[in-house]
Amino acid sequence: MHGVGPVATAPVLVARGLTKRFPGVLALDDVGFAIRPGEIVALLGQNGAGKSTLIQIFAGAHPAGGYDGDLTLGGEPFRPSSVAEAEAAGVALVPQEVNVVPDLTIAENIALNDEPTRWGFIDIGERIRRAKAALADFGLDLDPALPMSALDLATQQLVVIARALAKRARLLILDEPTAALTENESRRLFERMRALKAKGVAIIFVSHRLGEVFAICDRIVVMRDGRIRGHHGIADISRRGVVDEMVGATGADEDTAPAGDSATGAVALELRNFNVFDSGGRRRVESLDLILRRGEVVGLFGLLGAGCIEAALAAYGAWPGRHEGAVLIDGKAATIAAPSEAVPLGLGLMAQDRRDCLIGDQSIADNIGIASLASISRLGILDIGAGRRRARDIAASIAIKTASIDAEVRTLSGGNQQKVQIARWLAASTRILIMIDPTRGVDVGARREIKRLWSELAARGHAILIASTDAEELVDACDRVVVMGHGRRVGELAARDLTEQKLLRMATDG
């Protein structure tokens, strides 16, 4: 598995004794790391393990001097004090969240902060040429003059990666690059990664999708609690072994699939002949029929643009366009034009992007209380003590890890933020939970815990609908999965038949 060439060369980046403290937390504890040209190294670990801190130090996001230990790049001491400095030295980080300026063109986004100039003025022709070259180099057939907002999320992500590649990076750091990509797009990204590898570029690949890691990487580095817990050649370890090392347990129990006798519950949510249109009038979902029973976890799977996310949002009244057809809640017809009409009917939504659902600057208690202010107030006057007590009890019951419910939500890890959302809907006595890509950007350990929480909620009689573009998150969590393709229902799989391969096959056939 190890190529002869890369192993023989000197490392491009070496880190020794990296230690970084945040108030009250030791984020990195004496971390050593090395990567050679032409190597692809997976950096794995749960949220809070120290991965982000480590790659941010490499990329100059934590200025040199704020941590102990030293770095060398190509044998020279490397002390970046800013992202720009690290990029100039050949280290480029593509962050997990897609950060683009939607109103600027693709070319302008690619050139951002590095505009080609002639006599102090921006050289527009050169900018287009460079953008074209960057896109072509990455196999993207796009017009650089298009505005970024005309692209879907996945294509935007590819443009961001193309931008980083255009900077002639020696070390490229990809933080969960495939989270928003379809299978096909991921494959394209992997092809490009292999081409870069052949050119001698070193790549650090952070991902929660182990299948991808084993497909593309040469080595795996596992972190836990701010330390490196294992270095492995890809051939020397199994998926199971990696997960155990991340979680810090040996022989950890496999996820238990939820119990199967789910069809017995009463129908909680039903969509009949449900059609969804976007604001331009284009049909995004066509004649969808869907039944969700109490005590059931049902997946709604499709590739990006297949209509499953649109259908879920429309059922909640959060889709910006029009929808037609019947929505029945507990067998009664309902018209839901806005979330404020959905919540009183017992619906709750967890959106694709946590930042759309949480108020980062406000406390856990506030975020839990926000959807159920009515039940802690009388005649519009809040019972603040009751609200706090309820928030504290619910937070404890689903094990939100925090010292205080007064902590601001943005200080929590991704998995804990996801739990705050669940707590919010528990506080609101919500019976029907609609989740959209709920474990996106959540690490393996927290995924397990959250999935366990879903089956607990289902067992207590909640109905859960998970609209997802990620087959992996549905497979061991759902009682059944409805598969969509091109806006139509193309099939359904029961829990016993559920595999990633079958889901993808069905979705791509449709």
Binding site: P339, P344, D406, L412
Partner: protein, 401 residues
């Protein structure tokens, strides 16, 4: 589970980090920023005390200062409520002038009963607020534009209706509202009752927080919560012992209490903070943004009404062209100095009141020192800049800690 608890490791003996929402920590979470502002105010007062040979801190001057500050304070209350939801109101000054015109025309020109006139004027204010709320929430024009337009046409209508002339004098029963005093004995009694009520509420809250295990030791918390109120009450009682409390100040106190209650103790207030903190999150949580913001503007309209009546009574007539000029800017400045965040989700009415008092003190003190008005404006501008800068710096420091 406990050993994984590394993301947030706070020493329980430390004060809780400031959370900005409606369930904020009961005892003194915002103590740092409030005390900062109070310290600046104390410094300014001390300076003027020496610079004016003691005139500044006489009972007589402090009553005057309270009266001078009252109009800006009233306007600042609704400014805070709107800025918390990321909305601006540039129309306050003109709207207040128009309310005054309604009041003056009815009572002076048409001999309408003063009480009815006041009701009509307040109704006019509410209608103006609802009108602007309609454009913001139903049509979707940004509040900046809607109220910028309002600033122009409310002023214009005031001038048209009065033909640019002053409508005066108001009936004595109305001017009495602005010039009258609650007698000293009554005033001190009222201060006593208010202080006792406030203290017992806070003590009950702290008891409950203690019972929930949210708070550690009780006596220091009670002291922190009650001591400033007792100090303020003593000062107020001393000032009131001269002539009593002006009705206008009583009005400001009542409006402040009502607004604080609305913002911090009701469902509506919690919704406003949530909307300002993250509008999308508020919407997806089932909050009806359109309705909440519409009512936000209606309440601002009630503010126009009350402020307009108070101002008109104070100057004993309506001056369409100049009444309330730049009031919106003073109100926004007071809110910002008082800690309201322009990016929404954070702000307190009490803070804005202290902000208004700070600006008012500068005016009053410099006038006593015979500083020309040009210099006064310059000084106030610099104070606004410094106040916000100090706030930013201290907040950055508290984040670092």
């Amino acid at each position: 589970m406990a050993e994984q608890n590394v993301t947030v490791a706070l020493d329980p003996a430390e004060p809780a980090p400031p959370s900005r929402g409606f369930l904020r920590t009961l005892a003194g979470a915002s103590a740092l920023r409030n005390s900062m502002l109070l310290l600046v105010l104390a410094g300014v007062w001390l300076f003027f005390y020496f610079a004016t040979n003691g005139t500044f801190l006489t009972q007589r001057n402090l009553v005057l200062l309270a009266l001078q500050t009252s109009i800006v304070s009233l306007a600042a209350i609704s400014a805070v409520m709107l800025i918390v939801t990321r909305n601006f109101d540039l129309s306050v000054g003109s709207a207040v002038a128009l309310v005054g015109v309604v009041l003056a025309l009815l009572t002076v020109k048409h001999d309408v009963d003063p009480a009815l006139g006041v009701l009509a004027a307040i109704a006019a204010g509410i209608a103006m607020g609802a009108w602007q709320g309609f454009w913001v929430t139903r049509i979707g024009v940004s509040s900046f534009i809607v109220t910028l337009a309002g600033m122009l046409y409310f002023r214009g209508i005031s001038m048209i209706a009065t033909n640019g002339a002053t409508v005066a004098p108001l009936p004595r029963s109305l001017t009495g509202l602005a010039t009258g005093f609650l007698p000293p004995a009554f005033s001190i009694g009222a201060i006593l009752v208010a202080t006792l009520g406030y203290a017992s509420l806070r003590v009950a809250e702290i008891r409950r927080a203690h019972g929930l295990g949210i708070l550690g030791r009780m006596p220091p918390a009670i002291f922190r919560a009650v001591a400033p109120a007792v100090l303020a009450a003593l000062a107020a009682a001393w000032i009131a012992s001269w002539q009593g409390i002006p009705y206008l100040v009583v009005l400001v106190a009542m409006c402040t209490f009502a607004a604080e209650f609305l913002m911090r103790r009701t469902r509506f207030g919690a919704q406003l903070y949530a909307i300002g903190g993250n509008p999308e999150a508020a919407r997806l949580s089932g909050i009806n943004l359109t309705r909440a913001i519409f009512w936000n503007f209606v309440i601002a309209g009630l503010g126009y009404g009350i402020t307009g009546v108070a101002l008109t009574a104070r100057v004993s007539g309506a001056i369409g062209g100049s009444a309330g000029l730049f009031l919106e800017l003073d109100a926004i400045a007071a809110a910002i100095i008082g800690g309201t965040s322009l990016s929404g989700g954070r702000g307190r009415v009490l803070g804005a009141l202290v902000g208004a008092l700070l600006m008012g003190s500068l005016n009053n003190g410099m006038s006593l020192m015979n500083v020309p008005t040009f210099y006064q404006d310059t000084a106030r501008g610099i104070v606004l800049l410094l106040a916000v800068a100090i706030d930013q710096l201290s907040r950055r420091q508290s984040v670092r800690r």
